[in-house]
């Protein structure tokens, strides 16, 4: 069966009667008086004896012109040879599972858009021919395959029944490209794309192998399209919460909005939104905040997933410090006063316990307790040296005077001018590796060093803090703060705190951690195997706060829809009426082959033939 993708182009067939009309037009004749027309009559009779061929050629020329016009018109109409692919054809079923398919059904659907989409998909499975194969995939933020090419109807139905809509923004183009790549080279294979049509028109509806079935209608929605916290520039403890609410309907809405942080209500405000209006609320906050926050709007609309949004603050700034010390008031006070620093103190050192605990901490501090040989990690050594370092202790130095201060960024802002030390270790440098920095020193010995090796960062203080005035000076907290900042580089951020639904989240973990359990917002525990200190959490299709433990500490990351386009649940994509596989006519599983190239070549051939005839025509002047 031949179908036309551009049937309006058949209007070009009007050129056929036009050509016939032009061909039948008589030229205006000029009158010429001759002495006698007898000879002309005889010549005309002579010519008419060979007129059969002439007339045939003339008629043939007209026929060829008509054929050319016909072929060109048909070619412009983009004809496709559509065959029922009842036997042996493969198909890919692409089901839209983006957030908009959760929308409450408007009019035509009894429950939700998604249930209608699934019914349509089930119909396609039922209509499959005996030996046809079907692959089911979903289209969310990323396309996902749920089956291979299967002929088992029951299995396909089970897989379909298990599918649920996600909170993800839809990216149908990526899914369709993947689907087309799966059937590449199979002329009769088809892709069935079932969607609510609530996406921007960025896909090529002219692709003949795709059967579009867009079933959405209606839909009004008010959505949180942005929820975030940001620090104020130049301020350590002031930050702002941003909340954007968008009214996608054509009617005004009054929306009560709340923001809570760790069950503390930060905002309770009613927002008046005009039709189509988008309003942003900025909420200034002060203090040290950590945990996860939730924004909600109380509105009765067709899509509920975007009526909440989540954000995680502060948790990523947390620094876990394991302190081995017999007791150091000043050091513990300084560490405890630092924002986000979580100190765990051990007064005695046990190797097995150290090996179990240390990987869960960002920094390990040895204060006057001898450490074991150090592997990868961040360390602060005070009045002690670990084996295997490029320096060692050889005796002590009484009342050393600080005679020099290095140019390292670590020590540069620290003023050591009035620091006095009663006794210091005599440090002997075995060699000077490139990563070793002198921080400050006396004429007799090194007083503080920093070492940057491949997997190790280390700060060494060569004297007992209690035997010096250093903890009493303002330089001490500054030095400790700078040391901790230097020891913990930026890449130690464990995970992003915010992620769009469906986007994989990568979490960095201690190297010895073998697995990670992630709790989804619904409470389901997902266990991931750690590879090379990293885990990629890909099951983020549900909006909410995800929890996991790292270094015995509860961590969070938030997943939100917050997508302007997805929250606009009004069906916007329109299938051109001429599409060969529009929903109205795509009841049967069909394969289409474009015929326009054939038409074009035939038209060119006819044109060449006509040109050849014109050149060859006898008596051409």
């Amino acid at each position: 069966m031949i179908q036309f993708a551009q049937p309006w182009a058949l209007l070009a067939l009007l050129s056929v009667p036009a050509i016939v009309l032009l061909h039948s037009l008589k030229p205006r004749r000029r009158e010429v008086v001759l002495s006698s027309t007898a000879l002309w009559r005889e010549a005309l009779r002579d010519r008419q004896r060979g007129f059969g061929l002439q007339k045939l050629l003339k008629d043939l020329s007209l026929l060829l012109l008509l054929l050319f016009a016909l072929l060109l018109s048909l070619g412009l109409a983009d004809p496709r040879w559509v065959t029922p692919a009842a036997e042996g054809s493969d198909a890919v079923l692409v089901l839209d599972v983006s957030a908009s398919t959760q929308a409450r059904a408007g009019g035509t659907f009894s429950r939700s858009r998604f249930s209608a989409l699934k019914r349509e998909a089930a119909g396609i499975i039922d209509a499959l021919a005996e030996d046809s194969r079907l692959l089911i995939m979903t289209s969310g933020r990323t396309p996902r395959l749920h089956t291979g090419f299967e002929t088992d109807r029951e299995h396909l139905h089970r897989q379909l029944a298990a599918l649920q809509p996600t909170d993800e923004a839809g990216r149908p183009r990526a899914a369709l490209e993947l689907a087309l790549s799966l059937i590449r080279g199979r002329a009769r294979a088809r892709v069935h794309f079932i969607s609510d049509g609530a996406f921007d028109q960025d896909i090529d509806f002219a692709t003949p192998q795709i059967d579009y079935r867009l079933l959405g209608s209606g839909g009004h929605n008010v959505a949180i399209t942005r929820f975030d916290f940001r620090p104020e520039v130049g301020s350590g403890d002031r930050f702002q919460a941003l909340l954007t609410v968008h009214n996608y309907t054509q009617q005004p809405f009054t929306v009560p909005a709340t923001v809570t942080l760790s069950h503390t209500r930060l905002l309770e405000q009613t927002l008046a939104l005009a039709p189509g209006e988008k309003k942003t609320v900025i909420l200034p906050l002060q203090g040290v905040a950590a945990g996860w926050a939730q924004a909600s709007i109380d509105v009765d609309d067709d899509l509920s997933v975007d009526n909440q949004a989540y954000a995680v603050i502060g948790t990523d700034e947390r620094l876990d410090v394991l302190l081995y010390s017999p007791g150091n008031y000043y050091l513990e006070s300084v560490l405890g006063a630092m924002p986000g620093v979580n100190v765990t103190r051990q007064t005695t050192f046990r190797l097995d316990e150290y090996r179990r605990q240390a990987p869960g901490y960002d920094i390990v501090v040895f204060d006057r307790i001898t450490p074991p040989p150090l592997d990868a990690g961040r360390f602060l050594l005070i009045d002690t040296v670990a084996p295997g370092l490029p320096f060692h202790i050889d005796g002590s130095v009484l009342r050393p005077t600080i005679s020099g201060q290095g140019a390292s960024a670590l020590i540069r802002p620290v003023d050591l001018g009035d620091v006095s030390i009663d006794r210091a270790r005599r440090v002997v440098l075995e060699d000077r590796p490139p990563g070793l920095q002198r921080l400050f020193w006396s004429s007799e010995t090194e007083l503080a060093l920093a070492l940057l090796a491949q997997d190790t960062r280390l700060v060494f203080i060569g004297f007992d803090l209690m035997d010096s005035s250093f903890p009493l000076k303002t330089a001490f907290p500054l030095f400790v703060s700078e040391s901790l900042a230097w020891l913990r580089p930026r890449e130690t951020r464990h995970a992003p705190t915010q992620s769009p639904a469906g986007e994989p989240v990568t979490i960095s973990l201690p190297a010895d951690q073998l697995d990670l359990t992630v709790r989804t917002p619904s409470g389901e525990g997902l266990i991931y195997t750690v590879e090379q200190g990293r885990v990629t959490v890909d099951a983020t299709s549900q909006a909410g706060v995800y929890r996991y433990e790292r270094a015995l500490t509860q961590r969070y990351f938030a997943v939100n829809l917050t997508d302007e386009a997805e929250s606009d649940i009004r069906p916007r994509a329109r299938i051109p009426s001429a599409h060969p596989a529009s929903a109205a006519e795509a009841d049967a599983d069909q394969a289409a082959v474009a015929l326009w190239p054939l038409m074009l070549w035939l038209a060119l051939g006819v044109l060449l033939l006509e040109w050849g005839l014109w050149c060859w025509r006898p008596g051409r002047a």
């Binding site: 008589k26 030229p27 205006r28 004749r29 000029r30 009158e31 010429v32 008086v33 001759l34 002495s35 006698s36 027309t37 007898a38 000879l39 002309w40 009559r41 005889e42 010549a43 005309l44 002579d46 010519r47 006898p618 008596g619 051409r620 002047a621």
Partner: protein, 310 residues
Amino acid sequence: MGSRSPGDGISVSAALDETALLFDTAFLRKLERLEVLAGKLFRGLIRGEHVTPRRGHGLEFADFRRYRPGDDLRYIDWNIFARLDQLFVKLYASDEDLTLHVLLDASASMNFGTPRKFDYARRLAAALAYIGLSNLDRVGLAVFSETLDATLPPLKTRHQITALLDFLSVQPAGGRTDLTRALQAFASRNPNRGLVVVISDLLGGDGAQSGLDALRYSGHDLMVVQLLAEQEIAPPLDGALNLVDAEDGSVLKVTVDATLRELYQQRLDGVLADMEQYCRRAGCEYLRASTAVPFEDVVLKYLRQGRFWR
């Protein structure tokens, strides 16, 4: 060239001042020049001593020819019949004065061409008549189309050239051509044998040969001048045309292209060849003339090459 004839000193130009524009002064000067040239050609001949190809019943035996029905049985040579068992008649040189009849086609087809064939033909006729009169022959004129339209009885002297030119000047061209009827009518009205010069385009129908036959059978010596316009020899026609026949007004719708022009040319060549072949077969003089060639050149060529005027 002077304005006087070399013969009797009469100024033709002066005598014909009042003639129509057709025969203007320039034309008359050409006639005088032709007279001089013709005079050289006729040098030494006297009136009544033409050795004409026409055979008659004089005293001097000239020739034999095969018997044709209608011949006088008295001139059959029975001796030859006895020897060859075939009939031959004896021919005798005529001693009669030569009468020159110029028959001019004045049908509508002669109105065609640039210059008009009819004008050209009239000048040609005038020239031949003038030369004939200059050689002491009798010269008659007749104009025909469907039939004989007008005749001028034979003139005897060159002084009568004015009447001849006047006669030619007033003749119109029009009507259809019926050569058979016209030439038969002429033959019946002019039983005296002579030399008949037919000036026509011979395009007016199929009766040319039967008409000429009628003249021939009446004993006239015959000369045919087929006059064509250059536009008839190489018609400059192309495209979609309504061709109107000048004689009957019929219209022929035709698209002229190279093919049709070639077919026309073949047809014309065939018609001309047929006429030439007929004349050769019938013992007639045939001269094909184009209006593109000056008429005096035609006359001189004719006088030099024709067997009647040597």
